[in-house]
C-alpha cells in the first residue's frame, strides 16, 4: 500500500502550466512555416513568388492530415527494431484520452502530438527552397506526402522515439538538428541532383525580388524558433527549456554577426540577405546543441555556423548543383556543424550529464554525434533522390522549359504575385460592362 502511494506520487501528473506553455510553443512553431514561406518567397524572382509561398503552405495541409491518419503512430508509436513505430491507438489520434499523459511527461498526448506535427510540417517545407522556379506543383505535393511517410516519420522515430536506434545510442538532438535540418538539407541535395538546374543557372542574374520579405520571414522564423527549441523539452520543471531559450537567442546573434563580418571582408558590404541568412544558420546550429552547451558555448557554435554557412553557400557555383536558395548551404551545413559541435561543447550540466571534448568528456559523444549525422544524411539523401526519380519517371518533376521561363506562378497557380498595371483597373471594367446611357449623360454634365 505504502509503495503504491509512493508510485502514484512519483508518476507525473498533468501540469496546466506546461500544457499551456506547450500549446503556445506549438502555435509558435506553426508560424515558422509561413515565416519560411516569406523567407524563401522574397529570395526568388517575381515570376515564381507565389509558387515558393505555396510550396511551404501546402505542407501545412498535407502533412497535418497524414500525421493524424498514421504519421504520429509511425513516428511515436511503439518501437519495432529501432526503425519505426506503430500504435493503433494513435491511428487517427482516435484512441487517446483527453488527460492521457505523454509517457514520462506532464502534458497530454494531444499536446505532444500537435507540437511534433508542426515539426513534421516545416521539415518538408524546408526542402522547397532548393527547388525554386521549376517543380510542378502536383509533383511537389506528391513528394511532400511520400517524403513525410518514407523519410520524416521514420527519422523522427530514430531520433526522438522511445526505442529509436539513435535515441537509444545516445545521439543528442535537442530540437531537430538531425531530424529536421540535416534531414531536409540532405533531401534537398538528393532531389536537385535528380531534377537538375534552373534554366539560366549561373548565366542569368537571379536576384532576390524582395529583401524586405526575406527579412520579415527571417524575423518570424527567429520568433517561432523559441517555441521550436525551448518547447522541445516539453516543460519547464528543471530549467533546461530556459537554457535552450537563452542559447537560441545567443547563438543566432553570434551567427548573424559572423556572417556579416565575413561578407564585409570578403565582398565589401553588410547585406540584409547576409543578416537574415546568418541568423537562420545560427538558429539551425543551436537547434541540436542548445540544451547541452553554455551561453558562451552558444556564442562559439553560432559564430562557427555563421562563418561556415557563409562560406558554404558559394559551393554550389563551384560544383554546379543548383541549390537555389541554399538549403544545403544553410540547413545541411548548419545542422551538421551544430550536431557535431555538441561533441566539443557539451558541458555535462544541461540536458544530460554527458560532457564533450572541451569539458573533459573525451571523444565518446563526438562519435555518437557523427553516427547520427552520417546515417540520417545518407538515408535522406538516397531515399529522397529515389522518390524524386520515381516521380520524375511517372508524372514528371519539372514544368517545361518554356513554362519555367515564362514564370511558374502563372502556369501552376493562374495568378501573379503583384499587380504592376496600376492604370488598368477602371478602363477594363468599362469594357466588360458597357456604360449605360445615364453614365454618358452624367459625364456630359460634368463636362459642362
Amino acid at each position: 500500500m505504502a509503495s503504491a502511494i509512493t508510485l502514484a506520487a512519483d508518476a507525473p501528473t498533468l501540469s496546466a502550466a506546461n500544457t499551456g506553455f506547450m500549446l503556445i510553443c506549438s502555435a509558435l512553431v506553426m508560424l515558422m512555416t509561413p515565416g519560411l514561406a516569406f523567407f524563401y518567397g522574397g529570395m526568388v524572382r517575381v515570376k515564381s513568388t507565389l509558387n515558393m509561398l505555396m510550396m511551404s503552405f501546402i505542407s501545412l495541409g498535407i502533412v497535418t492530415i497524414l500525421w493524424v491518419l498514421y504519421g504520429f503512430s509511425l513516428a511515436f508509436g511503439t518501437d519495432s527494431g529501432g526503425i519505426i513505430g506503430w500504435s493503433s491507438d494513435y491511428v487517427g489520434l482516435s484512441g487517446i484520452g483527453l488527460t492521457q499523459l505523454w509517457d514520462g511527461y506532464t502534458i497530454p498526448i494531444y499536446v505532444f502530438a500537435v507540437f511534433q506535427l508542426m515539426f513534421a510540417i516545416i521539415t518538408p517545407a524546408l526542402i522547397s527552397g532548393a527547388l525554386a522556379d521549376r517543380v510542378k506543383f502536383t509533383a511537389w505535393a506528391l513528394f511532400v506526402a511520400l517524403w513525410a511517410t518514407v523519410v520524416y516519420f521514420p527519422v523522427a522515430h530514430w531520433v526522438w522515439g522511445a526505442g529509436g536506434w539513435a535515441f537509444e545510442l545516445g545521439v543528442i538532438d535537442f530540437a531537430g538538428g538531425t531530424a529536421v535540418h540535416i534531414n531536409a538539407g540532405a533531401a534537398a541535395l538528393g532531389v536537385i541532383l535528380v531534377i537538375g538546374k534552373r534554366v539560366g543557372f549561373k548565366k542569368d542574374p537571379m536576384r532576390p525580388h524582395s529583401l524586405p520579405l526575406v527579412m520579415l520571414g527571417a524575423g518570424l522564423l527567429w520568433f517561432g524558433w523559441f517555441g521550436f527549441n525551448a518547447g522541445s523539452w516539453l516543460g519547464n520543471d528543471d530549467g533546461v527549456g530556459a537554457l535552450m531559450f537563452v542559447n537560441t537567442q545567443v547563438a543566432t546573434a553570434a551567427a548573424m554577426l559572423a556572417w556579416l563580418i565575413y561578407e564585409k571582408i570578403r565582398h565589401g558590404a553588410f547585406t540584409t540577405l547576409g543578416a537574415a541568412s546568418g541568423a537562420v544558420a545560427g538558429l539551425v546550429a543551436i537547434t541540436p546543441s542548445g540544451g547541452s552547451c553554455s551561453p558562451l558555448g552558444a556564442i562559439a557554435i553560432g559564430a562557427i555556423a555563421g562563418l561556415l554557412c557563409a562560406m558554404a553557400v558559394g559551393l554550389k557555383y563551384k560544383f554546379g548543383y543548383d541549390d537555389s536558395l541554399d538549403v544545403v548551404g544553410v540547413h545541411l551545413v548548419g545542422g551538421v556543424v551544430g550536431s557535431i559541435l555538441i561533441g566539443f561543447f557539451a558541458t555535462g550540466g544541461g540536458q544530460s550529464d554527458v560532457a564533450g571534448l572541451f569539458y573533459g568528456g573525451g571523444l565518446a559523444q563526438l562519435w555518437k554525434q557523427l553516427a547520427g549525422v552520417g546515417v540520417v544524411l545518407a538515408y535522406s539523401l538516397i531515399a529522397s533522390a529515389i522518390l524524386a526519380f520515381l516521380i520524375d519517371k511517372t508524372i514528371g518533376m519539372r514544368v517545361s522549359e518554356d513554362e519555367e521561363v515564362a514564370g511558374i506562378d502563372q502556369v501552376e497557380h493562374a495568378e501573379t504575385a503583384y499587380d504592376f498595371s496600376g492604370a488598368g483597373g477602371g478602363a477594363a471594367s468599362r469594357t466588360v460592362a458597357p456604360a449605360p446611357a445615364q453614365g454618358v449623360a452624367e459625364s456630359k454634365k460634368v463636362d459642362a
Binding site: 542574374p205 536576384r207 565589401g268 558559394g314 463636362d447
Partner: protein
C-alpha cells in the same frame, strides 16, 4: 512645337518640376525608365554571388513646348538635373507636327 525629353536621375525630379513650373510650363509626363549611358551599371552581391546590374533606374520627363521656348527650356531642365557626377542623364528635343487637347479638340500651340 518641340518635344523635350529628359532622361535623368530619379532624385532630381522635384527640382526639375519646380524649375519647369517657374518657367511657366503647364504640364508634363513622367515615366519610370531604366537604362545606362557612359557610367554603365553597378555590381550587387547576394550571398557572395555578384550580379552586374546594367540598367539603372532613371526617370523620363516629356514636355511639349512652342519652338521659341525650346532652347531656353532645355537649359532650365539641364540646370535643374545636373549634379556634376557621372550618370546625370541626357536631354534632347525633336520637332512635333501636331498636338490635340483631347477634351476640347484645340490643336497646335493652343493645346499646350
Amino acid at each position: 512645337m518641340k518635344l523635350i525629353t529628359a532622361v535623368v536621375k530619379p532624385h532630381r525630379l522635384d527640382e526639375i518640376k519646380e524649375a519647369l513650373q517657374a518657367f511657366g510650363v503647364h504640364g508634363l509626363t513622367v515615366t519610370e525608365a531604366s537604362g545606362y549611358g557612359r557610367q554603365r551599371g553597378h555590381t550587387e552581391v547576394y550571398r557572395g554571388a555578384e550580379y552586374t546590374v546594367d540598367l539603372v533606374p532613371k526617370i523620363r520627363i516629356e514636355v511639349l513646348v512652342e519652338d521659341d521656348d525650346a532652347e531656353q527650356l532645355i537649359d532650365v531642365v539641364v540646370k535643374a538635373a545636373r549634379t556634376g557626377k557621372i550618370g546625370d542623364g541626357k536631354v534632347w528635343s525633336i520637332p512635333v507636327e501636331t498636338a490635340v487637347r483631347v477634351r476640347t479638340g484645340e490643336r497646335g500651340p493652343d493645346a499646350l
